[in-house]
């Protein structure tokens, strides 16, 4: 979980949950949600293009709208390794962390959008809070995640984190 490496996809401001996973897609079996990832966005064929570990760089208020946890799940299942944006909507941010998808705000999005090309390789160091552009060797600073967020990501999501706590208490026997 500490580092994620993949190609960059750029998105604009206010990518809402209906763009990430449209309401109609919630009626398909859960295992198919990934096929609808970003179907309503400016990259409707994202699900076919994305590879494991790829990184989304978005704009302001990424994930606004519905509380549907299926939205970050669709991104993660499609292969997204991390999402970086100017800011994230509150519920989306927490849902993403809870399901083990790193979402990290950054004040350097403008620089990234100027200096990185769509499809370039980057490496995100989640704990250090940096994004490395492989071609140029340039590093961009990301915001530091809070202690609970890092602990949840480290455990691979909130389910594992709760299980670990229960195990420590002796309340969960594997």
């Amino acid at each position: 979980m500490k580092k994620v490496k993949g190609r960059v996809f750029f998105l604009g401001d206010r990518i809402d949950t209906d763009q990430i996973l449209p309401g109609y897609a919630m009626s398909v079996p859960t295992c198919q949600h990934k096929n609808y990832a970003l179907k309503g966005s400016s990259i409707p064929d994202f699900a076919e293009k994305v590879k494991l570990g790829d990184v989304i760089i978005g704009g302001k208020n990424f994930g606004c709208g519905s509380s549907r946890e299926q939205a970050p799940v669709a991104l993660k299942e499609a292969g997204v390794g991390a999402a970086i944006a100017v800011s994230f909507a509150m519920i989306f941010r927490k849902n993403s962390i809870n399901i083990g998808l790193p979402v990290i705000p950054s004040e350097n999005i403008d620089h990234m959008k100027r200096e990185i090309q769509e499809g370039d390789l980057v490496e995100v160091d989640i704990e250090a809070g940096t994004l490395l552009h492989i071609d140029s060797g340039r590093t961009y600073e990301l915001n530091k995640l809070s202690e609970p967020a890092l602990a949840t990501l480290e455990a691979g999501g909130l389910i594992n984190r709760v299980r670990n706590i229960l195990r420590e208490r002796g309340e969960l026997i594997d």
Partner: protein, 421 residues
């Protein structure tokens, strides 16, 4: 401290808290809707056996009521059996309505409580002085197990609204105007208190509309200080007054931001595609052809909203190239609409009624829209694809604007009705 902070402090068993801190709170009520079978799946994965308190757990089947797909039918089936097996009494099935209407009607919402639900519009319950906030499935599952959730104590913005509304201008117009002025990110991670004479003069339904759409500016929660009108409503709903705690904000409390609006000269407002803050006076888009009009949802499906449509449409016929879908937000509202004769008259005027629930507001069923179509709606979101095709245009407006636009077949300021029909 602010009243909102006092709610959180009490639930965290603390004397004093301040914004930015992370605290763990006891949760008074959780609600799970039928979009979220994952709550039960996560609960099982976390090794959950019994929910922490079956009296504090509510299920509402509203997003898919009645089930339009086999998948949603299975979700509801599995949720019913979970609720029955766990001894959860508060199971509101497909015959009841939208969670944010059904819970207050059932007397489950009261000042001073923390209510967490798997729905972003849980900010609605600020209308009753409750701390309501939305979460996803995994957070909710962890509350089912522990009865607790951690919060970052939010900064609080005060939005003060003064003045009297002109005739034909409604609470929905106020909140659309505020959204247009402040934008969709203004309250990200923050709480919003609405105050001022214009808020105090609103009935409970109007206050619910205002708090409901606070989430559209990113708010974690919304709040209106409870008053006589709140208490009268709570009594009518047989709320257990032993649980009610009305906190007052300290006189020296400093808000993180202050915004003042005077709505004395406000005209009816409309949010144009594809963002809730693309707000203009209705007159600016007058004449836009309307394929479907919608009155319903947790924002615009109360008796007060349907009454407005009735007053505009009784004895008339909607435009023959326009559809009008009306969905009462709850069974109780549906019955009241029948009792008062609204439903009969609106059906005669050409409206299509469907079962209480969320309906096409989130594009799942009961009136979704086709590519190229225009929908004007009393609901809450106009993102691309929200109500059906991503290639449709959604305009958010008051129920008066929606009803008049259905009557004439194009977007119209409701105050023009006299001159045009």
């Amino acid at each position: 401290m602010h009243a909102i902070e006092k709610i959180l402090a009490r639930a965290a068993h603390r004397e004093v808290i301040k914004s930015g801190e992370i605290i763990t709170c006891d949760i008074d009520l959780v609600e799970i809707n039928d979009l979220y079978l994952q709550v039960i799946e996560s609960f099982d994965e976390m090794n959950g056996k019994k929910v922490w308190d079956p009296e504090k757990v509510v299920f509402v089947f509203d997003h898919y009521a009645p089930a339009p797909t086999i998948k949603s039918a299975q979700t509801q089936r599995d949720m019913r059996s979970f609720a029955w097996q766990q001894g959860i009494r508060h199971l509101f099935d497909i015959n009841t309505g939208v969670c944010h209407q059904v819970m207050p009607e059932a007397g489950l919402v009261y000042p001073g409580m923390i209510l967490v639900a798997t729905d972003s519009h849980t900010t609605t319950h600020g209308a009753f002085g409750a701390f309501g906030t939305g979460v996803g499935a995994t957070d909710l599952a962890s509350i089912l197990l522990t009865g607790k959730m951690w919060f970052r104590v939010p900064e609080i913005i005060n939005i003060k609204i003064s003045g009297d509304l002109k005739p034909g201008v409604l609470p929905k117009d106020i909140i659309l105007y505020v959204l247009g002025q402040l934008g969709t990110k203004k309250a990200l991670y923050k709480a919003v208190e609405f105050s001022g004479e214009a808020i105090e003069n609103l009935d409970i339904a109007g206050r619910m509309v205002i708090c409901n759409m606070a989430v559209e500016m990113g708010a974690k929660t919304a709040y209106i200080q409870p008053d006589e009108a709140t208490m009268t409503y709570l009594k009518s709903r047989k709320v257990d007054f032993d649980k009610v705690v009305v906190h007052e904000t300290d006189s020296d409390y400093q808000f993180s931001e202050q915004h003042n609006f005077d709505i004395s000269n406000l005209d009816p407002q409309i949010a144009t595609p594809h963002s809730v803050d693309n707000v203009v006076p209705v007159g600016a888009v007058k004449g836009t052809k309307v394929n479907q009009a919608f009155i319903g949802s947790c924002t615009g499906g109360r008796v007060e909203d349907i009454e407005i449509a009735y007053n505009i449409l009784k004895g008339k016929k909607i435009n023959n190239k326009t559809r009008l879908v009306i969905i009462p937000a709850s069974k109780e509202i549906l019955l009241e609409c029948i009792n008062r004769g609204y439903m009969q008259e609106l059906v005669r005027a050409g409206a299509t009624f469907t079962a209480p629930g969320c309906g096409p507001c989130l594009g799942t069923h009961q009136g979704v829209i086709a590519p190229g179509e225009v929908c004007v709606t009393a609901s809450n979101r106009n993102f691309p694809g929200r109500m059906g095709s991503s290639d449709a245009d959604i305009y958010l407006a008051s129920p008066a604007t929606v009803a008049v636009s259905a009557l004439l077949g194009y977007i119209t300021d409701p105050r023009e009705l006299e001159g045009e029909v």
